[in-house]
């Protein structure tokens, strides 16, 4: 059983117009750059993307928005993105906003075989409209469901040929959760090593969750808000 594919192009095989994709990353941190670029080179469209953010105009998911390949975004914060704003206001793009913790927990639940759970987030707000609410120990909670995503695309720092992944610093974010959730999970990594080189005790995502893996050709790793102090 070989999980290693040769390129981003090969990794995204099977993704079709109209599908729902999960994409890891927080802002531009830890996003699967190579697979996103490969998707822009296809004529796949009508995608529903579950991703905490929507990239910026000329990077990340912004690139797919530019090419009008996305019909719906499911995110917690869509940030600064002119083309996104234009498409949303014109009604070309559908947007579903979800509290960030609920988004994370729903991704985990999807991968963990938990169809629904209760969270306090959004109770009493429009996020809870139409949803079941319930009191536990004197506090009100909203019932939230798992997602259903045929593909998840994640980005890791190191990976091995068994699909085991290690993320770096805050580039971890949603990646391990989405890796659990995809029926087919694609991992692009900065460094791909043979099985046995990674410490089994330090694996963030066990290989069982990853179906395809490759070393990305290049990683720009753009910084969104470069903030420094005086030395």
């Amino acid at each position: 059983m070989n999980k290693v594919v040769n390129s981003a192009e090969e990794a995204i095989k099977g993704i079709e117009s109209g599908m729902t994709l999960m994409l890891g990353g927080f802002g531009l941190c830890g996003i699967p750059e190579n697979c996103i670029e490969a998707l822009t080179k296809t004529d796949i469209s009508g995608l529903t993307c579950i991703s905490n953010n929507a990239g910026v105009d000329d990077f990340g998911l912004g690139l797919l928005l530019q090419k009008k390949q996305i019909k719906k975004m499911i995110s917690s914060y869509v940030g600064e993105n002119k083309e996104f704003e234009r498409q949303m206001l014109s009604g070309e793009l559908d947007v579903e906003l979800i509290p960030q913790g609920t988004l994370a927990e729903r991704c985990r639940a999807t991968g963990a075989g938990i169809p629904a759970f209760f969270t306090p987030a959004g109770y009493g707000t429009e996020v809870a409209e139409g949803k079941e609410t319930r009191e536990f120990n004197g506090k009100m909670y909203v019932m939230e469901h798992a997602f259903d995503a045929p593909f998840a695309i994640v980005k890791a720092w190191k990976g091995d040929t068994e699909g085991n992944l290690i993320f770096k610093a805050t580039a971890r974010n949603f990646n391990p959760l989405m890796a659990m959730a995809g029926k087919i999970t694609i991992a692009e990594v900065e460094e791909l090593v043979p099985a046995g080189e990674l410490d089994p005790n330090a694996i963030h995502t066990p290989g069982i969750f990853v179906q395809r893996i490759f070393q990305g050709e290049k990683f720009e790793k753009r910084i969104e808000q470069r903030t420094t102090r005086q030395a």
Binding site: S76, C107, A121, G124, W157, A171, F174, I223, E224, A231
Partner: protein, 219 residues
């Protein structure tokens, strides 16, 4: 004289306790980190997956893989840890983060908060705010007392779509420090230097409860 942004942050820093784990929202709340009292250890959590944030990096040491929830480049202190978003919100929902400081557009006299959406304007999303306000036992709002049009942001009930209900415990504005009464109403605890109780009263639309002695904010 009303408090400036740093004054508000400095006043909020007085609410910190040794050993607290704290989540600071974007804007004024971020400044609280600059005013941790001497000799006190406070750990800052950012909901994108880091505990133990340090100062911003010096130029040339920025790491694209190391940011806070405001997407700013950061550093970490000894004893820091990284984790995924589900773990991060487990800390928040599970009330392991002891204090949340965040901004608001409106707060109501029963502790409702609105800070994510203005109908008719571009909506960017709630990010982690709904999880934070619904979870934290101890929420302090840092904001100006009135909006740019001079209208009170401390209301009988919020006019904007809510972020959370009955969750705000304390509010520190440029004019005053107030507590939300469990029975409803803003209890005036302190006024900024030179600010009168009358001024706070006139700029508070919601029910203002004025105790016998209202002290002056000491920084």
């Amino acid at each position: 004289m009303a408090l400036d942004k740093n004054g508000i942050a400095k006043r909020i820093a007085k609410e910190l306790k040794d050993g607290y784990y704290v989540n600071l929202g974007i804007g004024i709340p971020t400044l609280v980190a600059n005013h941790v009292p001497e000799g006190m250890t406070v750990e800052f959590q950012s909901e994108n997956g880091v505990l133990g944030m340090g100062p911003f990096p010096v130029e040339g040491e920025e790491d694209a893989d190391l940011i806070n929830a405001g997407k700013q480049t950061i550093t970490v202190k000894d004893g820091a840890s990284f984790f995924d978003s589900a773990m991060s919100f487990a800390m928040i929902r599970g009330q392991h983060v002891q204090l949340t400081v965040l901004g608001a557009m409106e707060v109501s006299e029963n502790g409702d908060i609105a800070n994510w959406k203005i109908p008719g304007k571009m909506v960017k999303g709630m990010g982690g705010a709904m999880d934070l306000v619904a979870s934290a036992e101890n929420i302090i709002v840092a904001m100006t007392h009135t909006n740019k049009a001079g209208e009170s942001k401390l209301l009988k009930s919020c006019s904007l779509p809510l972020t959370g209900v009955g969750c705000v415990k304390k509010i520190v504005t440029d004019l005053a420090v107030l507590e939300v009464s469990p029975d409803g109403g803003f209890i005036l605890l302190e006024v900024a230097p030179g600010v009168t109780v009358e001024e706070v009263k006139s700029k508070t639309e919601g029910k203002l409860i004025v105790p016998d002695n209202v002290s002056e904010v000491a920084l």
